[in-house]
């Protein structure tokens, strides 16, 4: 499983979701590719991110399984992720 996370440095929702995502990464092993909507324009275009940021696109073997946009709570995010794939907890 791989997550493409599309952000913008000027977006307050992205700032809020950075905290949420970092908390999730402390608990689970998830490969994340971070893209900036302005700095990585060409790469971002491939994903057609739409208007609401940030965008989390969940892939399994290059197949898009799920797309989460905007601000959501950590528990809700984990629930959505668990709905499409198995999350591996980190060894503490």
């Amino acid at each position: 499983m791989k997550v493409v996370k599309i952000n913008a440095i000027w977006c307050s929702g992205c700032l809020i979701m950075n905290k949420v995502w970092n908390n999730i990464l402390k608990k689970y092993d998830i490969e994340t590719i971070e893209l900036d909507i302005d700095m990585d324009e060409e790469e971002v275009e491939k994903y057609n991110p739409g208007k609401i940021l940030p965008v989390f696109i969940v892939f399994n073997d290059d197949k898009e399984l799920l797309r989460i946009t905007g601000e959501i709570k950590e528990e809700e995010m984990i629930k959505k992720l668990k709905g499409v794939c198995e999350l591996h907890e980190k060894d503490i």
């Binding site: 913008a8 440095i9 977006c11 307050s12 929702g13 992205c14 700032l15 809020i16 905290k19 909507i37």
Partner: protein, 374 residues
């Protein structure tokens, strides 16, 4: 032309342009040079700084000239956080801030700073109890704008400052860009305040960070002492003098100008309320800004349609793009309204005839674009 985008930028006052040209022609010396031409330029800058300080009620040593509010916001936020990170790494801000506040805070988040957003009430005002709760021993900076540039919500800076002052380690920065030149502001309750000349009929490319005396911050631009050690570079004499001129002119009869905008605002809102739109600006907003949401029409479509009639308004602030408006969402809790908002911004230069013409065209466009499903 009907210009209704004064919060994005203002046309430069002719007197300001004349001052700028005159100083460009007649004061060619580098103010840091020791010869006569340099000394003359330096004297002119000092006189301008004194004038700005008197108008704003601050000390001359508290003025740092910058290229505008984006630089001032960056300097305040990164300057404090770089200097005082040993005291703590916690920042508090709001979702109403300009992108030039959010972006440096995002940058600092990547450097290990923790960021909290203070809750807003249904009017878009900072929830003071939530601010009290979020303020921690390691909070080194609170950055809250005086006026949100999209909706116009005016924060109670005094009440916010009183809470922040309970923690002596926390500095209070406010982006007062949309307020300076329109109304008087007591800057003594702030540690840092960002201002920009282009919002009060001054030149683009000049602004200032007002920094409380005694507060030391790390500069963004290192290069030794200029007008201040906090921002190096050859002082832009013509721009600095023009800033003082613009500020002086902005505050001439400012109460009369403000009251005129209050009346224009009432007139516009009365006319708009008869149309099939919803007004997002509320009683806590600066009268210069009227934010509204249109149904079933993309804001950009309306903006360009108005442009065809030589009428200029804005969608989201010129410096953000893509996302729905966080500020509109804060006062409406409605994502549809937050993605369909436009901003009309007024000036004392606006006329009732301009507003009548705008309403006439806007009303026609609401019907025609709606029918075409745009």
């Amino acid at each position: 032309m009907i210009y209704l985008d004064y919060s994005a930028t203002t046309p430069v006052n002719e007197e300001v342009i004349n001052t700028y040209s005159k100083v460009c022609r007649e004061y060619i010396g580098n103010p840091n040079s020791l010869h006569k031409l340099g000394v003359e330029a330096k004297k002119l800058i000092d006189a301008s700084t004194l004038q700005i300080a008197k108008i704003l009620g601050v000390k001359t040593s508290e003025i740092i000239y910058t290229s505008g509010s984006s630089e001032s916001n960056n300097l305040a936020i990164k300057g404090v956080c770089s200097k005082y990170s040993n005291r703590g790494k916690h920042i508090i801000t709001t979702e109403l801030e300009h992108s030039s506040v959010i972006a440096p805070i995002s940058f600092l988040q990547k450097q290990g700073f923790e960021v909290d957003f203070v809750e807003l009430d249904e009017n878009g005002l900072v929830d003071l109890d939530d601010l009290k709760n979020k303020l921690r021993d390691d909070t080194i900076l609170v950055s809250i704008c005086a006026i949100n540039s999209e909706v116009g919500v005016k924060q109670d800076l005094k009440a916010i400052s009183d809470i922040i002052r309970t923690n002596p380690k926390t500095f209070f920065h406010s982006d007062v860009t949309q307020l300076i030149g329109k109304d008087k502001v007591d800057l003594s309750m702030l540690d840092l305040a960002s201002i920009s000349g282009q919002k009060f009929y001054g030149m683009k490319g000049i602004g200032a960070l007002i920094k409380r005396e005694g507060l030391v911050i790390d500069p963004l631009i290192h290069g030794g002492k200029s007008t201040t050690v906090f921002r190096s570079g050859t002082p832009a004499t013509p721009l600095i003098v023009s800033l003082a001129k613009a500020l002086r002119l902005a505050y001439e009869n400012y109460e009369e100008k403000y009251n005129k905008v209050v009346e224009l605002n009432k007139y516009l809102i009365d006319k708009l309320s008869k149309l099939d739109i919803s007004i997002n600006s509320n009683e806590y907003c600066l009268p210069h800004i009227v934010n509204l949401s249109i149904k079933n029409i993309k804001p950009e479509t309306m903006q360009h349609a108005l442009e065809e009639y030589d009428i200029y308004i804005s969608t989201q602030t010129a410096c953000s793009k893509g996302e729905y408006s966080k500020a509109v969402y804060a006062v409406t809790r409605d994502k549809d309204k937050a993605t369909h908002s436009i901003r009309i911004s007024l000036s004392y230069l606006t006329t009732y005839e301009e507003l009548d013409k705008f309403i006439e065209i806007f009303s026609k466009l609401l019907d025609s674009l709606n029918i075409r499903g745009e």
